[in-house]
Each structure stands twice: as C-alpha cells, then as structure tokens.
Symmetry: C2
Subunit: 405 residues, 2 copies
C-alpha cells in the first residue's frame, strides 16, 4: 500500500440506527490536550462528569461512572459484577440485544432464563412478573430500547415488581437514553448502562453506568483489591468478580475518593462523554427528549408519506429510530448503497429475521434535526424511484413538514 | 455547581510515566467526523490500522487488532482468551504490572504461579526456563517494560525457551512498545498487547493486540458465536471464553472478512490509534526507538548532573523512563506538586515499596524531545533547591546538553 495520509473521512449524514454523526462540540472536545491521571483538573473533570451523568440518568446514585469501552463493556461490567456464577438471571428478549444480555450472562456462568415476544412487540408488566414468580431470578436484565426492532420496552412498572420480589433490576439503555423518557430512580432501577453513539451524540467507546445503593452493596460484598496495590486490612472475597477490568468495586474505588489505581482513564473519551452530557443538559433533558419525539414523529410521517409500511408496534416505537418494510421488488442493500454513495446518507438494515426485510432510519442526537429528516426523505424518494418503487412525488418531505408544524 | 463550560484543560508538559502529552496530529485525528460501522471508509480504515500495527509490532500476524478499552483491557483479552480455567500460567514478577498480570490470570481462574526478583532487577533467561521446567505452564505472561520500576525485561531468548517447552508466550508491552526494541515475530511471541498512552503518543483507551497463528488456534478452539447473530453450522465450544467483550474469537470475526457484529468499534479511538502508528512509521520505527534512546540517555545524564541517584539496574532501564531517588529531606509529593503548579510539568511517583521514595520521569512519544528534557531539568533544579536540596547550578541542563552532542 502507499503510505497512509492523515485521516480524512468522507462527508456522511448518519441516519442509521447508530453510530450517528457526533455533535460538533463533542468532536472538538475529543481533541483537547491530555492531562495526567491524577492531575487536579483530571479528577475534577471525572467528578464533574459523574455529576452530569447523574442528571442524564435522573438519579442521585453516587455510583455513576464511565466504563472505558463500548456500550457492551458497560453491559458486561454490570452483569458480571452483579451476578455470581450459578445465580439466576431472567432476560425478556424482544430483539437482538435481549439475546446479547442473555449471552453475556451465560458467559458469566449465570443460570440464564429467557422469555420472548415476537419481534416488533414489547412485554406487558404482568408477563414479566409471571416469569419472575416462576424463575425467581437474582437479576432481571431488560433492554429498554432494542434498535434491532426499534421497540421501546416500558419500564415504569417493572421496578416496583422487582422490589416486591427481591430482584435486582438492570436495564441496557444504550439505544434509548437521551432520546426517550428515562428515570433511573423513579423507576426503581438498580443498574443502567448506555453508550455515547446513539441519542447522546458522541463516538462509541465510553459506557456511562449507574448503580443503586442496593447494587453497590452486592458489588462491595464481592470486593477484591488487586495485588500490587492491596494494603493491609483490605479484605478479599472468595466470590470475587471473574474479571479485573469489569470489577465495578475496583472501578468505583478509582472514581471515588480513594482514587485507587485501576485502569488509566481514557482521557479523550472522558472529554467526549462529558461534552455529550453537557450539550444535553444545556439544551435541557426534557427538551432533548421532546426534540427526539418531534423529529422522530416527522420521520415516521415522512416514510409513511412515501408509501412505506412501518414495522412493529408503532405505539411502542423508540422516538429515535423507525423500521420500514423494504417495498417488494426493491433491492434493499443496493438501495441503501445508493443512498450512501450518491447522497452521503447512511441508513441501516437489521439483524436476523429482519435482515434485508427492513431499513432502519434513525434521528438521534445531533441528527435529530428537521434538515436531516428532509434531506434523508428527499434522497430516499429518488432512490426508491430509481429502484422501481412507485412513490408519491414529494410525499415524504411534505408529510414530515406537516408533522413539524 | 455552576453549569460547566466546554472542556479547557490547563497547559501541561506530561513527563511522568504515562499518560503523556499526545502528538498534536493524534489530537487532531481524534476530532475527525464519524462514519458508520460498516461504511467502506470505516472497514478500509480498520484494515489499514491493522496493517500499520503489524509494522509497529514487527509481525506478519494476520490477527493484529485493537481492543476497545485501556491497555489492561488488552491484557485481559489476551489472558482470558488464551487460558482455560484451571490451566497453569507462569508470571515472572519484577514490578507492579507483573502483579497485575497474575491478578488478571487469577480472575480468569487460572492456576497462577509467580517467581519474583527484587524491584529494580530483571530475570535471566535461565531463571525463567527453570521455572517453566518446574511449573509446566500453558502460558508464560511476562511484562516487557514495567514502569513501576522502569526495568525492561529482555525477551530475545524467551520465545525459543517457550517453543522448546510447548508454552505460549505473551508479553505486555504497554509501557515499552514504540520506544524500545520490540520484535514480535523474531522473538517468538504468541501474543502481545499495548496501549497508546506511553511511547505511542496517544490517549489511553485503545489497546493494540497481536496473536500468532498458534495463539489464534487456541482462541478458535474455544469459539462461540453469540445468539442473535449465530447461524446454522456455527459450532459453539463448551470451554468458551468467560467473557463476551474479551472473546478474541469474536473480536477477530469482527475485524476479519466475516465482519460479524460484535462491539461498535470506537471510531475516534480508531482514528487516534491509526495516527499514533502513522506518525511512528512515518518517522521510522527504528528512528523513533533511537530517538527514545537518545533522549532517555539525555534525561538520565541530566538527573545525574543534578546529583540525583538513579534507582535500579540502569543497564536494563527502559529508554523512556527513569526513576530517581528523592533526596533525603526533600518532601517528594510537595516538590512534585510544585513542578505541576509552578511549571506546568508533571512527573510521577511510584507504587508500593517505591511510593514516596522515587520520582519517575518519562520521555515518551511526542515528549521525547530535547526541549522537553531541558525544561524539565531546569524546573526540577529550581524546585529541588526550593525544597532544601543542594544542586549544582545548571548541572542538569548542561549534562543533558552534553549527552545530546
């Protein structure tokens, strides 16, 4: 190969299920100069970022931190730290990411039980309570928004059910946080994790995580400080977490006042995560969620205005992504490719049973904007027509514009 | 708190044991716009980055990738994927990070055996071979450069010993890669991992990793593709890796031609990691190592010119960091603080037995420069005098300058 030049990505409007185009100010934050690991500015920035994410998650949990990895690093940290080998985990599966939670719990040698609904649906609280009564799990692990189907599982009533049955309640809010209602404390969550690359409008690579006091107790009961920095009087549990990197006890000691050395915090990702939360809270948490709702409704109206059928139970759709049935006779992947090549706009397909059957179109974070919706619909109209579909002239943009008035 | 402003770090010259100030071009790369996960530009950038890191590690290993996490994420991925529970791991410990390798192997439920030398020393090949003969491990896990003591373990002869005894050979080159000789293939390494925040001159948060074909075979023998994307005909081993995030089989399938969805690659960290390798190879791998050697020698001469004693076996010191004994009567932490507050220069202390006894001064990556050496020595001279030490006027800068001519 010729020697590579400095990175110079092509112009892209990322309107898929995520990752999406980051807020410009988040990209600027990523290039801020580094400071040392225990620099007063660094520890102050870590504290500040914790405080910002408490507001993002709507929690008073002291144990609110970042995991240095992608969103599934946050998921694995939560599950591996909260569940001992052999303990029961219940995972209601309504899409691909439910399977992922079950998979991660299986890797942690949990006794995993799943219930399933058809893709495109969500669970009723009573279905979840019935399974809890039957399985008696230590942990309920439930995705909030599963981008594979676009469904958003209502969580409001689940925390109370878990509390009543003595079950820890964890949710993976990667795809939903910041664009859909989320109330960690009011909903009785014991653990929640997310990523930056969806509604938070940043790059993948940092996973915000919050733990209730009850969850912290479980983590602390499995405490083990690593040799090399362990001091006299530091106890070590026999049922320690089977991972050093994901041992939330050590992660909390690093973020907390002891500042015990664990990993070297990923400074640039910290800056980016901080900026994601900052822009969200500056606009206002509810205002951002409302913007996602309004722009998501416009995109929904727009794809219907193009004559496309929407997949799944629309009443339970996330605000920030819509799945549309690829019209008969249209080559789905080739059409997506034309969107990317000719218009610089990315939309997605899906996984498993939905691969090649639906496109997923996202309106998240920075790209939850009217102009992004209009540009995507105008391009999609051209591409659909080119690939042989009959589409109403201007039907997408007009319907979206009307939804926005 | 008042609402936080955009991130605005103070000016810092990071001359500690890492993290260090990043190359300006690496910071610029961090803020490049994002693209989609399967964008042709993204997959081409991943391929290109793999190729660049093959040259950085001096290997032809196809299995050369990034782990999305800090350097210890790379360590855990390597050890957890290569060692089954109950298998023996031998860790020669010559500093804090040897303890870390042992700790991570214990978390993976390996049968961990250690040998130790006094801090400030390294192992002879015969001491390692004796232990291999006695323990008969599956894996030898050996730190190359342990920043806690500044020692650089010679690895040249170890690979041949491991091959003769049928032992897999893994090294953690986090602190050393890019600033010290490193030859993954010529030295017979089966696995090596690193981080960006030392000689590679980038931010923490991405861990380059390379695996020999022999190591890939072990990983593949434990293959398990996660439910949700598993297809008919995909086998699943019973002794699967007890982590989803760190299952190198799945990581390789994501980086490889199958492009099986695993995590969402941390795009900005990928850009940064690519630029770290690019600037290194543009200057020339041997030229960069030689620069670290030359600048490290200058810093060594400089601290001696200030009358400071150097800790450990200097003949086996890494090029990129020196540990100096804090003079009697000087308040070590307060003096470090004065360096930071008054001069904006960070130097480090160390861990365990060396905490408060030595300062560690690094010359890594972008900061392996004459001006950074001179500025640090000039500041240190002032601070030492202020804290009551008798130091030769100009002794540090003069000695460093002479070493550079």
């Amino acid at each position: 190969m010729t020697f590579p030049a400095p990175i110079d990505p092509p112009a892209r409007l990322l309107m898929g299920p995520g990752p999406i185009s980051a807020y410009p100010s988040v990209l600027r934050a990523m290039s801020a100069p580094l400071v040392g690991q225990y620099d007063p500015f660094m520890t102050a920035t870590m504290n500040e970022t914790q405080s910002l994410y408490r507001d993002v998650f709507a929690t008073a949990n002291d144990a609110t931190v970042l995991i240095d990895g992608t969103s599934r690093a946050g998921i694995e940290a939560a599950i591996t730290s909260l569940v001992r080998p052999g303990e029961k985990v219940l995972v209601p599966v309504f899409g691909r990411f439910g399977h992922l939670l079950a998979e991660i719990a299986e890797r942690a040698l949990a006794d995993v039980h799943t219930i399933e609904v058809e893709w495109g649906q969500v669970f009723t609280p009573s279905a979840i309570e019935e399974a809890i009564t039957r399985v008696k799990p230590t942990l309920l692990a439930l995705v909030q928004g599963d981008t594979s189907t676009t469904m958003c599982q209502p969580l409001e009533e689940i925390g109370e059910i878990c509390r009543r049955h003595g079950v820890l309640f964890y949710t993976d809010a990667t795809a939903s946080l910041g664009g859909n209602d989320f109330e960690a404390d009011a909903w009785g969550l014991d653990a929640a994790t997310a990523g930056l690359q969806k509604c938070l409008g940043g790059p993948s690579g940092s996973a915000p995580l919050t733990l209730s006091d009850r969850a912290v107790e479980v983590v602390r009961s499995r405490s083990r400080i690593e040799a090399g920095i362990r001091e006299e009087g530091d106890a070590s549990a026999d049922d320690f977490v089977r991972s050093n990197y994901f041992d939330l006890g050590m992660v909390l000691d690093y973020w907390g006042p002891r500042r015990l050395n664990h990993h070297t915090e990923a400074t640039s990702m910290l800056y980016g995560a901080r900026e994601c939360a900052r822009v969200l809270l500056l606009e206002g948490r509810n205002a951002v969620i409302e913007r996602h709702r309004r722009i998501g409704d416009a995109m929904l109206a727009g794809v219907r205005g193009l004559g496309l059928d929407v997949f799944g139970d629309v009443a339970h759709k996330m605000t920030n992504v819509v799945a549309v049935e690829i019209p008969d006779g249209v080559a789905g992947d080739a059409a997506r490719q034309a969107m990317l090549t000719d218009f610089g706009i990315e939309i997605g397909t899906s996984f498993g049973p939905l691969h090649g059957r639906v496109w997923r179109i996202g309106t998240m974070g920075y790209n939850a904007r009217p102009d992004a919706v209009f540009s995507t619909l105008a391009a999609l109209e051209h591409v659909l027509r080119r690939f042989g579909a009959r589409v109403p002239v201007g039907g997408g943009v007009d319907a979206a514009a009307e939804a926005l008035t």
